[in-house]
Amino acid sequence: MGHETHVEVRTQAQYEYDKAHSRAHMRKQVVNFAIMIFLTFIAFAAVLADFSPTFIIPIILLLAGIQVVLQLYAFMHLEDRSTHMVGVIEFFIWSAAFIAFTFFVAFTTIIWWGNY
């Protein structure tokens, strides 16, 4: 159970491969980031455009939901299938999301609905 520090010497081919790999990765990050900014922009625009609240609220919630999923996969590396125990991690996250969703439905329907 010792702690050794690995010093790896990479070949030129390996270096090229890694570089291409990181570049593709970077491109994906930027695209995802742009999508997220865009979704946020739509949310703000819907409010600015003065649509009726019954339209704005579900739209914002929907966009928020999409963002959560995107962020989990893009920024929290859930898409990286080689991560150790990624299946277990996914199971936990989706369980949490499911449970949180029931709370959300319950709160909106039995506490807040018709109370404001």
Binding site: M1, G2, H3, H84, M85, V88, F92, S95, A96, I99, T102, F103, A106, F107, T109, I110, I111, N115
Partner: protein, 646 residues
């Protein structure tokens, strides 16, 4: 490295326990602290039962009764049952999966100290102007208007100890997922490990709502916010939801490990493989999920509407299905086994009918229209004591006997054990069985006295006698524990002779690194398999004897916890508090309050920074050292003498 068997002074011992990160020592601290709070809360219960023994009694006042009631419930659930369960998890789970320690030993220690300091803080309320008095549920409509600092102690104390529980929960999840010995697949894990995993996941999902709720109540009471104050546009019902979103999973957090403990005890003494292992695992996970979908069954009478009540009623009844599966599996494990009725088995046999009784009344309460009748009556008190005492306390007492040899290298006396069991068990049924009828006759719960001549007098008297018997039972158990200190060390593996899982494969007393080589798991019930094949060495091993890497001790968790306590005092005496402004509680000047909050949290954060920036890579035990420690232990087992001047 000195060996475990060297003699140390008293001060060194205290320092050792303050700084330890060893799961076995943390287990002992959890057990000691949990037992202390169990005794305190039990004493509070006895005082209440003496008050209720006769109608219109004046033994204790109404106000004190409310404080005792609140502290009893809060202490029993958060500060007695939870830590004692954590004691067994800490002591047994790493051994069951063949790990050297938990995944984050530092956090393990931090979890314990936060729990303990939070508990001490809560109990200081008795000396600093009065304990909380709004029930363990602390409904906002009551607690926001409770004069004095009692509720503030509840909020801050639970906030601190809750953080500790959450940390420990996460630690167990990671430990069980990542630190299993080679061959220990998920579907080979013993059921206590499984239930620990599911229960820790419930902690992970259930404690954040409580933390959020407590935080809102904290700013409501101490800093002038109005989340729960309907006169200011708040909503008092939100507290009830947040509390029960946490509160119902909390009962499963406690009862699932209890199920797990019995699933370990029963196969050992029925001398038969656990019946329906995979259905047990499935049922555990299903209960964990459904446990989150039923919280509003505590709020049927709040007025959520017929649709909501119906949904939550059906969801609640659905939980009875996986629970029933478990009960049948236990019965079928016992069926046809060659049964040895030892003390742990006696507790298991007592548990099954008691818990079923509690489950049946639970399903009755889940019937929303009927619950309008039962709610807030003594029927509820009877129900939850049947599940908590009949389900959880029996598991803890039974497992204490079961695991004492591993934890302390001593055995508890079986004669005293049987005596405790019968006195406690009969006392328990006397106390709570008649309360069903008190409830049906209309006696409300949480009342400090009642008028005579309503047909309640006899049953209340019987109930109090039962409570005194339970008290006597516990005292005998404590005597048993004290006597065990002076008894002969057991010095062996597999104390009961029929152990099945890994923890029985290791010889006591345990070295601090557990198994000297990581064992290889070749199937479910791995130790049983080895015994069947005539292996006398305990296990086969997955690695040659090599250096062992262990974590260093640290005092930081203790200091971090003290920091949170200092900050809690700052918030408690905040001059902006509702009660302080109304003149019913004392406040400190703003600078003092702020200085305490900032200083306390600063201390905690400073420790975190130190911990993050100072690399602490632990230490290595060399092969020579391991051999010398093992030789010392072997010598101790053979001669009873602690290792000399090595």
């Amino acid at each position: 490295m000195s060996s475990v068997t060297q003699k140390k002074g008293f001060g060194a011992h205290v320092w050792d326990y303050l700084t330890t990160v060893d799961h076995k020592k943390i287990a002992i601290m959890y057990l000691a602290a949990g037992t202390l709070f169990f005794a305190i809360a039990g004493f509070e219960a006895l005082l209440m039962r003496i008050q209720l023994m006769f109608p219109e009694s004046t033994f204790i006042s109404a106000g004190l009764f409310n404080e005792l009631l609140t502290m009893h419930g809060t202490t029993m659930l958060f500060l007695a049952a939870t830590p004692i369960i954590f004691a067994f998890m800490n002591a047994i789970v790493p051994l069951q999966i063949g790990a050297r320690d938990v995944a984050f030993p530092f956090l393990n220690s931090l979890g314990f100290w936060l729990f303990f300091i939070g508990a001490v803080f809560l109990h200081l309320s008795f000396f600093l102007g009065g304990a909380p008095d709004a029930g363990w549920t602390s409904y906002a409509s009551l607690s926001l208007y409770s004069p004095g600092h009692g509720i503030d102690f509840y909020i801050l104390g639970l906030q601190i100890s809750g953080a500790g529980t959450l940390i420990s929960g996460i630690n167990f999840i990671v430990t069980i997922i990542t630190m299993r010995a080679p061959g220990m697949t998920f579907m080979r894990m013993p059921l206590f490990t499984w239930t620990t995993l599911v229960s820790s996941s419930l902690i992970l999902f259930a404690f954040p709502p409580l933390t959020g709720g407590l935080f809102l109540m904290l700013v409501d009471r101490m800093f002038g916010a109005n989340f729960f104050d309907h006169t200011m546009g708040g909503n008092t019902i939100i507290w009830e939801h947040l509390f029960w979103i946490f509160g119902h999973p909390e009962v499963y957090i406690l009862v699932l490990p209890a199920f797990g403990l019995f699933s370990e005890i029963i196969p050992v003494f029925a001398r038969k493989r656990l019946f329906g292992y995979s259905s047990m695992v499935f049922a555990t996970i299903l209960i964990g999920f459904l446990g989150f979908m039923v919280w509003a069954h505590h709020m049927f009478t709040v007025g959520l509407g017929a649709t909501a009540n119906a949904i939550f009623a059906v969801a609640t009844m659905a939980i009875a299905v996986p629970t029933g599966m478990k009960v049948f599996n236990w019965i079928l494990t016992i069926w046809g086994g060659s049964i040895k009725v030892t003390v742990p088995m006696l507790y298991a046999l007592g548990f099954i009918p008691s818990f079923v009784a509690g489950g049946v009344t639970g399903v009755m309460q889940a019937t929303a229209p009927l619950d309008y009748q039962l709610h807030d009556s003594y029927f509820i008190v009877a129900h939850f004591h049947y599940v908590i005492v009949g389900g959880i306390v029996t598991a803890l007492f039974g497992s204490a006997h079961f695991y004492w040899p591993i934890m302390f290298n001593r055995a508890l006396n079986p004669k005293l054990g049987v005596l405790t069991f019968w006195i406690f068990f009969i006392g328990f049924h006397l106390t709570f069985f008649v309360q069903h009828f008190l409830g049906l006759m209309g006696m409300p719960r949480r009342v400090f006295t009642y008028m005579g001549g309503q047909g309640w007098d006899l049953f209340n008297f019987i109930s109090s006698i039962g409570a005194i018997m339970m008290g006597i039972g516990v005292i005998i158990l404590v005597i048993d524990v004290l006597l065990s200190i002076k008894s002969e060390p057991v010095n062996r593996r597999d104390y009961w002779g029929d152990g099945r899982s890994l923890e029985w494969a290791i010889e006591t007393p345990l070295p601090f690194y557990n198994f000297k080589q990581t064992p290889l798991v070749r199937g479910f019930d791995p130790y049983w398999i080895e015994k069947e094949e005539g292996n006398k060495e305990g296990m086969v091993y997955a690695e040659p004897l090599g250096e062992i890497h262990m974590p260093n001790n640290s005092i930081l968790p203790f200091i971090m916890s003290i920091g949170t306590m200092i900050a809690a005092f700052g918030a408690l005496y905040s001059p902006w508090g509702d009660q302080v402004q109304a003149g019913t509680a004392t406040g400190a000047p703003a600078v003092v309050s702020l200085a305490l909050i900032i200083g306390g949290l600063g201390l905690t954060i400073a420790c975190m920074i130190i911990r993050s920036f100072k690399d602490d890579l632990g230490f290595h035990v060399t092969v020579a050292e391991i051999e010398s420690i093992e030789a010392d232990l072997a010598n101790y087992r053979a001669t009873g003498k602690k290792g000399g001047n090595k």
